[in-house]
Symmetry: C2
Subunit: 122 residues, 2 copies
DNA sequence: TTGATATTCAACTCCGAGGTTGAACGATGC
DNA sequence: GCATCGTTCAACCTCGGAGTTGAATATCAA
């Protein structure tokens, strides 16, 4: 908890529509900060701060060329997120399968008993 | 931006190690609040708040049974995250492929010219 | 009813996120 | 040199996240 790990930073960075839009834009290619900020209804400074959050999460890389800062998307942290989610999915999918089996078991058992008024919800 | 959409809520909820641990625990089966809070070095109230964040993101479902609140993992929002990430991946993977092609093109061209001092960085 | 258990609600602190404005800094162009 | 462009830094505001403690609510058990 005292170590804000990479997943934390990455997920936090992704949990904002502006930043996701920035990433989407960057996935189309390197872009200058000003150019990147142009479509947003907020100050350049605000966008600059969003960029710093993305940098902290290692989701964008900055390359200075003269006075221009060129930003590009570095997707590696997203892989970590994907890996974590896959691991989670593996966990609960197995369990949901077991639950399904159990429910079917119950249904077969209920078929030989008086039916229940309320159906299986959701 | 004024509509904090589902992805926002979900990613924000996931961007905390305590909450991810809670989900991990819940993926092993329904759990009472107190039982859930026991391993964490924080007050029951703090855990209760985390649970509310997870509920807001529809990542957990609460079922009241007497005085006990039984929580379970509802993974659907994670699918939305996965879908968004896949879409992103489709975007930039295509572009990275194009970039790779370009770099190889340049390498071939450079092979016939005097070599460059600084190598291809990262 | 009384008392214990399970959980939330309410009020508070602290801190950082997200936004603003204004100034500073570094590179470019004349 | 000087003005301008691209970008950040600094200071400030507001809001909500994350934690605390203490009281309230609801259920169970006697």
């Amino acid at each position: 908890m005292r170590t804000p790990n990479h997943l934390d930073q990455t997920l936090l960075a992704l949990a904002d529509p502006t930043r996701r839009a920035i990433l989407q834009r960057l996935s189309a290619g390197e872009t200058r900060v000003t150019e990147l900020a142009e479509p947003f209804a907020m100050s350049l400074n605000a966008v600059s701060k969003h960029i710093r959050v993305l940098e902290r999460a290692h989701l964008v890389h900055r390359r200075r060329e003269g006075r221009e800062h060129l930003l590009s998307f570095t997707p590696k942290p997203m892989d970590d997120v994907a890996r974590w989610m896959d691991a989670q999915r593996a966990n609960w999918s197995a369990r949901l399968q077991a639950l399904d089996d159990l429910l079917q078991e119950e249904d077969r058992a209920a078929a030989s008993a008086p039916p229940d008024k309320k159906g299986r919800t959701r």
